[in-house]
Structure formats: structure tokens, C-alpha cells
């Protein structure tokens, strides 16, 4: 019998330390598969963020670097400009990309650096214990917004795909989710497209992925995936925000 689904060779044997039901593992598996399917594992350099997925440098079976919080796109620029033959991806959470690294992601996108950014949006700070993120929904409870995010005092969430789509630089922007098999398959397709664009030197690609954080949300994994589909995806609509390949570029 032949294995048709299983741990891809693009992941190391190290077991992941994420909480039960965390979406990071699903996205890791997809990237691990793509490293093999696209035959890029041996020329890829991955960038782990600061946050729960700081440990991604132990999980992806390729060269990895772990930079300061939010600086992934700058590190990626340094790597890609000096090693254009390598495939460079920056894996970032919402604290990393949408708070600390806001300047880095905007300018890497504006320069249209030929890199692939994977942005995990779980609307909360996981690693530090469930504090409010720039992506925390209005009214959503966190350990620094215990009565729910108060728009009057704590402002509005940042919709990263929409924000970056206001720039001319990005080549490809899509928002996906990993709550259902159907959405996971769409995420697989989006990430494959994003890496393919980098391989053909098209410029900046980012896939934002709505992902479950049951621990941070104070929910069971099953409740979390339902909340993602019913509430979070309403606020952060899924879809393609930029695809210059459709414009023949």
C-alpha cells in the first residue's frame, strides 16, 4: 500500500508544540508539502517569526532564520537580494506582522520584493497568553480587553490584505482560512500560487490565513473552528485581493 496522505518531507520529524486544535500545524503541513511538490526544499530559506510559531525554525525541513519581532520582511529582503536563486518565505503572526512589523511589511510590499509572506491571523496574541492583537475583533475578549475590544478606546482592527491592496507593489494577495477541509484546500492552492509567483520572479506575494487559536479564544477546538467560520470570516472576508497574473503581468 502506498501512503497518499501523511507527514511531508518538508517538515522535520520534530513534533510540534502547538496547542490542540491550533491552526499553525495545518499551515505548516501545507508549506511542508509545497517545499517537496514544487521541488524547492533544497533552495528555500524560511523565516520564523516571534510568537508561538517562533519554533517554526525547528519544524520546517529547510534552512531557517529567526529574526527580531516583526522584521521578517526586512530579513527576507536581505536574503533574497543576496541569494536571488533561493526561495525565501516569511512566516508571521498578527503581532509580528500587523503590530511590531507594520512598517517592514508595508515597505517590502511597496518595493514588491520577490518573496512570499505567510500571514497567520488568529486575532489574538497566542504566545504571551491571549492579549489583544491588532487583528482582535471589535467586542472580542482578550486578557487586555477583558470586557471585549472597546473601539472607542482601543481602536479598530487592521485588515492587512485590504491595506496592502491599496499599494501598487504587491503581485498577489489572498485571504484564506483553515477551518474546513474546503478552505484548507483553497489555502493549499493559494500558497502554491504564491510560491509559484516567486519562482517565476513576479514579486511580492502574501497569503493571509485565518487560523484557530482555541486556547487564546477560550474555546474548544471545535468551537473555535465554528467561530472562525461564523464570526471571524465575516469581519475578514476571504478571497483574492490582488492577482496581477490575471491582468497579464
Amino acid at each position: 500500500m502506498k501512503m497518499i496522505f501523511g507527514r511531508p518531507a518538508g517538515l522535520t520529524e520534530t513534533l510540534q508544540r502547538y496547542c490542540p486544535g491550533c491552526g499553525h500545524g495545518i499551515v505548516h503541513r501545507i508549506i511542508g508539502e509545497l517545499l517537496v511538490k514544487l521541488d524547492i526544499r533544497e533552495r528555500t530559506i524560511g523565516i520564523a517569526p516571534v510568537g508561538c510559531s517562533v519554533f517554526a525554525d525547528e519544524y520546517f525541513n529547510c534552512d531557517m532564520i529567526q529574526p527580531p519581532h516583526g522584521r521578517g520582511p526586512a530579513i527576507a529582503t536581505g536574503l533574497k537580494r543576496t541569494r536571488p536563486e533561493c526561495i525565501v518565505f516569511s512566516y508571521q503572526g498578527d503581532g509580528d506582522l500587523a503590530a511590531m512589523g507594520t512598517a517592514e511589511i508595508i515597505h517590502a510590499a511597496a518595493r514588491s520584493e520577490n518573496i512570499t509572506v505567510i500571514f497567520i491571523n488568529n486575532a489574538i496574541f497566542g504566545m504571551t497568553g491571549g492579549q489583544m492583537a491588532p487583528t482582535t475583533l471589535p467586542g472580542m475578549k482578550s486578557t487586555t480587553s477583558v470586557k471585549g475590544r472597546d473601539i472607542g478606546k482601543q481602536g479598530y482592527p487592521i485588515k492587512v490584505c485590504e491595506m496592502l491592496a491599496s499599494l501598487d507593489g504587491p503581485y498577489y494577495l489572498e485571504r484564506c482560512a483553515v477551518d474546513t477541509p474546503r478552505n484548507v484546500i483553497r489555502t493549499e492552492k493559494a500558497l502554491k500560487t504564491a510560491f509559484a509567483h516567486q519562482i517565476s520572479n513576479k514579486g511580492f506575494s502574501m497569503v493571509e490565513i485565518l487560523s484557530m487559536c482555541p486556547t487564546g479564544w477560550g474555546q474548544t477546538p471545535v468551537q473555535a473552528k465554528k467561530w472562525l467560520g461564523e464570526v471571524m470570516a465575516e469581519y475578514y472576508p476571504l478571497g483574492v485581493f490582488r492577482d496581477l497574473s490575471k491582468e497579464g503581468k
Partner: protein, 355 residues
């Protein structure tokens, strides 16, 4: 390029960096070092290197982290406030044992300060500068010629010890023009050996990881102890300095960079008047030339530390001499530059009738 050319100090850095085989520059404009990114943008374009004008110094230093992790010589330049922004990145780079070159054309501080030359970033440069247990190799040029030659030395030391290196100059050195001799054969970056730790894709080898963290119990302590051994080795191998008229001196001036030039003129004035005065010019600020001062203290009764600050290097002079001699200070903070008569006056005050 061969022969001699009249150049700005800031332009000499650019040519020195390129001659050292560096093909990656990332930086953000700030006075008084703007001539560096300006010329770099032209020169990197000419020679097929990379020039990125970044959104911030934070981004610049992280681009260097990436380029260095890719195994390439990479540099940035800035001035004091920008260097402060880079400290986060420098700490991570030191924690990941990566070689990069950072040039600081120091200006007056704290805060936005002014754009006049200063030496008030000495502590920041020689005490690590950011968080955690680390040091950065710090070279102090005192001429456009040094600014041309030190990048090569800085890269060699940075790579030998896998540690970030700084060149600590000041606005005066960056802005003044001097003849520069292209004193070494430019290095072809392709001739530099591939680093055995560089990230370049794991084809035919184990994957590599560059990082500054280790959360396993006790592991970071081991790493930091190993780094302490490296620092001890740098301290014993790499102390660099120049001395002048120190053999018979009753007083030795300790000064680096611009101050060493002014002090040189003051020493001449003093010698003409019959005072036995010498000059010690530290070239490496970290590692500080402790050993030569430790020897000198046996013979020299007086040291005069001259700095364009309220006194920072003086602490290292006190540590090196264990305060066994009398140590005097003359400082000009906030963008002031001492004059030779000013220093001579201090010499006269100290040595009085001892000529």
C-alpha cells in the same frame, strides 16, 4: 582604482567598503553621513551590488542580518539616533554570531541633539549597545585614509570571530576632505570563501538554522559562556593602538578619532615648550587597549583623557590603569570640538613647572 585621490571621509568609507568586497548596503539617510548612501546608491549600481534605501534603520539592520546570514559581506551606515534604532537588530545579530559592518558617523546627542561631530556614543558602541551579554568589535578611524582601510579590517575581524563590527567615526571625519591612497588590492567578492554556516538552501547537506534564542533549560547559559570565551580571545588578540612620544612622558594624552588629531597638535605645542607629553591613540575601542595602558601606568604619572563628550572612554582608562596614576579629563560635549591651545592649557595646568 590606484594612486591617491582627494576625498570626503564619507566617500572614503564607500570606496573602502567596496574594495573590501562588500556588495550589500541598506540604510536610511541621516546627517552627517548622507554622502555614504548617496555615493553607495551610484557605486552599487555600477558594480552590480545591492543598494536598498530602507523605511527605517530598524529595517536596514535587519536586511544586514539577512544578507549576513546568507553569507555575504553587508554594511550599513548611520549617525547616532539611527544607530540607537539599530540596537535591537545588532543584539540579535550578536546573538546569532553573524558578521556585519555598521558605520556610525557620530553626531551630538542625546535625542535629536545636533548634527555636529561628537564622541558621545562611546558607551553604546563599547558596551554592546542593546540588550543581553555581548560586545561589538569597534574601530576608531582618525582620517579619511583610515575610513578607506578600516572596512576591510572590520569585515576580516567580524568574520574571523563571527561578530558584528562597528566603525565609530564622527561628523568631522565624515565631512572633511583628505588625500586617500588606495592602499590595497580590491577584493573580488567571488574570491571570498563560502561560509560553512551560510543559509543558501540545504542541497546536499543538513539544514542550517540561524537564531539568537534557545529556550531549553541551561542551553543559553552554555551559549553565552562560549561567547564569553570568544570575547576573551578578541580581547587578548586584537587590541590596536598607536603611541607617540610615550617613552619619556610625564603625561600621556589618551584620545581617539578627531580628538587624537587635535591632541597630536597639542602634544607638539607642549613638546616645543619642553613638556614631556605623549599620545596614546586607541584604534580598537572594543577591545580597549588595556594592556598598553597597564604597562604605561608603571612609568607615567599623569594621563589626560580628551573626548568630545562628558567623559566615557575615561572609564576604560581608569579600569586599564586601575587608577594608579592621576587621570585628568578634558571634554567638549554636544558637538564641541577641542582646540590644540585648549588642550595645551590643560597640560600646563597639570604639569605646571615640571618642564
Amino acid at each position: 582604482m590606484a594612486g591617491k585621490k582627494l576625498m570626503y571621509g564619507n566617500h572614503a568609507v564607500v570606496e573602502g567598503v567596496i574594495a573590501a568586497g562588500c556588495r550589500f548596503f541598506a540604510g536610511y539617510p541621516i546627517t552627517p553621513q548622507n554622502e555614504i548612501p548617496e555615493l553607495m546608491s551610484i557605486r552599487m549600481n555600477e558594480i552590480g551590488g545591492v543598494f536598498v534605501q530602507t523605511e527605517s534603520e530598524i529595517s536596514a539592520i535587519n536586511m544586514l542580518f539577512g544578507a549576513a546570514a546568507a553569507g555575504k559581506r553587508a554594511m550599513t551606515s548611520s549617525s547616532s539616533p539611527g544607530i540607537s534604532l539599530m540596537q535591537e537588530g545588532i543584539s540579535y545579530i550578536a546573538g546569532a554570531d553573524m558578521p556585519v559592518l555598521v558605520v556610525n558617523i557620530v553626531r551630538g546627542g542625546p535625542g535629536l541633539g545636533n548634527i555636529a561631530p561628537a564622541q558621545s556614543d562611546y558607551y553604546q558602541a563599547t558596551r554592546g549597545g542593546g540588550h543581553g551579554d555581548y560586545f561589538t568589535i569597534t574601530l576608531a578611524p582618525h582620517s579619511a585614509q583610515d575610513l578607506y582601510e578600516f572596512p576591510k579590517l572590520a569585515f576580516e575581524l567580524a568574520e574571523k570571530y563571527r561578530n558584528p563590527a562597528l566603525i565609530l567615526a564622527d561628523g568631522l571625519l565624515g565631512q572633511m576632505m583628505e588625500p586617500v591612497e588606495f592602499s590595497f588590492k580590491p577584493i573580488d567578492p567571488k574570491s571570498l570563501p563560502e561560509k560553512e554556516w551560510a543559509l543558501c538552501g540545504c542541497k546536499g547537506r543538513e539544514r542550517r538554522v540561524v537564531r539568537s534564542y534557545d529556550l531549553k533549560a541551561g542551553k543559553l547559559e552554555v551559549l553565552n559562556l562560549r561567547r564569553a570565551e570568544k570575547y576573551a580571545k578578541i580581547k587578548s588578540n586584537e587590541q590596536r593602538f598607536k603611541t607617540k612620544y610615550c617613552n619619556d612622558a610625564d603625561l600621556v594624552i589618551v584620545a581617539y578619532g578627531t580628538c587624537s588629531r587635535v591632541a597630536d597638535a597639542a602634544v607638539k605645542m607642549a613638546r616645543d615648550k619642553g613638556f614631556k607629553v605623549g599620545l596614546l591613540r586607541p584604534i580598537t575601542l572594543w577591545p580597549f587597549p588595556m594592556d598598553v595602558l597597564g604597562d604605561m601606568v608603571k612609568k607615567v604619572d599623569n594621563f589626560l583623557v580628551v573626548e568630545m563628550s562628558n567623559g566615557q572612554m575615561i572609564d576604560d582608562v581608569k579600569l586599564a590603569t586601575e587608577c594608579r596614576s592621576r587621570i585628568y579629563f578634558h571634554g567638549r560635549p554636544g558637538g564641541g570640538v577641542p582646540t590644540p591651545p585648549e588642550i595645551y592649557k590643560r597640560i600646563e595646568e597639570v604639569l605646571g613647572g615640571a618642564r
